[in-house]
């Protein structure tokens, strides 16, 4: 019986149809989606911190408004990704608990510190740029709610990417100090941005089923290559140098070859030993705990009004 259901499910996917919340789906498909979408949601939420770190110091009224709006968008993305995950039968509070206990992961890039205003540029340009490459391919993912969330998110992300690039471009054309900040920022964020695509396909634990089920629509290495090809040209255009001596155009493959990623660093950060892992989670947990009494009050108020204790 289950085999027949699985066959029907796979036929549907092969035919390019979307799976919706009430449709039958294999348990592993459900679990994979919960893991992937919640990881994505958590990344949006934790990603608010490195940028939130510069909101009060943004150097102009315009820069301030752009950054606040961006962090607000991220909260919004987190919200509809949590909702998409909830369609798979798990609650937001369970998801937040998984984040705070370390059971669920988020993108490791947010465990790096933001040390100058140029980092607001680098995050938009490189981190959102890398995220877009991934998310654009996910617009065609097989799970309906996830696919629809991605379509919406992609639009806002490309806006963020342009704004980040604008900051970088302004700074690399600015005073010597600003130029130095911009180059330093690219040096620090380049490799972590390449790591965002995950391990090589040959070392990725989750790729094969995810491709078969069309949850993932591009492999880690293919998407990474796409990002490198796009970004090198953008760096040239504003006079910044990609910190990779092995980077060069390959006329045969028509792609840029690039150096080997430091996978040891990647796994260290994934496993909790990055610069800010503990701080990010502590900040999240503290804000959540400090908000307990507010959420309790809201709940108590709702109950009292429902019971007719109040008008």
């Amino acid at each position: 019986m289950t085999e027949k259901k699985e066959q029907l499910f796979q036929d549907k996917i092969d035919a390019g149809l979307k799976i919706e919340p009430k449709d039958w789906m294999p348990d592993k498909y459900r679990k994979h989606l919960i893991r992937q979408i919640s990881q994505h949601a958590h990344s949006e939420i934790i990603g608010m911190q490195p940028e939130g770190n510069w909101i009060t110091r943004a150097p102009s009224l315009r820069a301030k408004m752009v950054l606040i709006a961006k962090v607000q968008d991220e909260a919004g993305h987190g919200l509809y990704l949590y909702s998409a995950t909830e369609t798979l039968g798990i609650t937001r509070s369970e998801l937040i608990e998984q984040l705070q206990t370390g059971k669920a992961k988020y993108s490791s890039i947010f465990n790096y510190p933001t040390l100058s205003w140029a980092d607001m540029g680098a995050i938009g340009w490189l981190v959102d740029g890398a995220a877009i490459v991934n998310q654009q391919s996910l617009r065609r993912t097989s799970y309906g709610p996830y696919s629809r969330a991605m379509i919406r998110i992609c639009k806002e992300e490309s806006f963020h990417q342009r704004q980040g690039y604008e900051i970088m471009s302004k700074m690399s054309n600015g005073t010597p100090e600003q130029q130095e900040m911009a180059q330093d920022s690219l040096n620090r964020w380049w490799w972590p941005a390449l790591m965002m695509f995950g391990p090589h396909d040959s070392d990725s634990a989750h790729t094969s089923n995810a491709m078969k089920w069309k949850i993932k629509r591009g492999t880690n290495d293919d998407l990474r290559q796409l990002f490198v090809d796009r970004t090198v040209k953008q760096a040239d255009l504003i006079g910044l140098e990609i910190p990779d001596p092995d980077l060069k155009w390959n006329p045969e493959s028509k792609h840029y070859d690039f150096g080997e990623i430091d996978w040891e660093e990647f796994w260290e950060v994934v496993n909790g030993n990055g610069f800010c892992n503990k701080e990010r989670i502590n900040n999240h947990t503290n804000a959540h705990t400090e908000g307990n009494w507010v959420r309790e009050a809201a709940l108590a108020y709702a109950e009292k009004t429902q019971n007719g204790d109040l008008k």
Binding site: I45, R57, I68, Q72, A75, K170, E177, H288
Partner: protein, 251 residues
Amino acid sequence: MAKDSLYKYVLALGDDALILGQRLSQWAYRAPFLEEDIALSNISLDMFGRANLLLEYAATLKGNGITADDLAFKRNERQFTNRILFERPNGNFADTMVRQFFLDAFYKLFLQKLTGSKDEQLSAIAQKSIKETAYHFRHSSKWVIRLGVGTAESHTKVQSAIDNLWMFTNELFEMNEIDNEMLQQKIGVDCSSLKQEWIKIIDEVLAEATLKRPENIHMTTGGREGIHTEHLGHLLSDMQYLQRAYPDAKW
């Protein structure tokens, strides 16, 4: 002379909005839950938008190539003329909501009057802002009620926020020389005439929230003359850091 008074009047209104926007932006990612993160940044954005319009207008009145950013990032404590309530630290969620509630109720009345200003710019800014304030007021007054009625803990916290912030409320209704001059020219608002209506709004919400309005509290003033609490200096040094450290840079 008249132009200088108008400049000071507009600048003071811009300072109010700017400092409150900066305070609210300090909540980024620290709110009790995600929806509230979004709401607080929304209100912060509205305040910065308002500040931007007012400071740009002030900058044109000032002339000499001064920009809104110069006004925001290159003046010190004594040159800021925001009223003190706007600069009060965020404290806990109840402190922030009560500050917001007092100010939203004030803005509701103030902006309504300002829409009738003879000065077209100010009138236009008021018309835009009043729609935002209607939403802010719904949000903050609803929270004061929720916290007042919610639990014993939230009730205590919100009542203590009211008691602590009350001393800064009278300043909202004071009139200095510039205010009087602007009122005479039908540009400015008679703030002293708003107090009764403001108290009425506050009382209605507090009654529903089962909270008490403090009485016999000594009132503090000074913001419009550039006398502030010590908190403002720290807010400014944080906000102005890049502009001060790299004065030649354009961002």
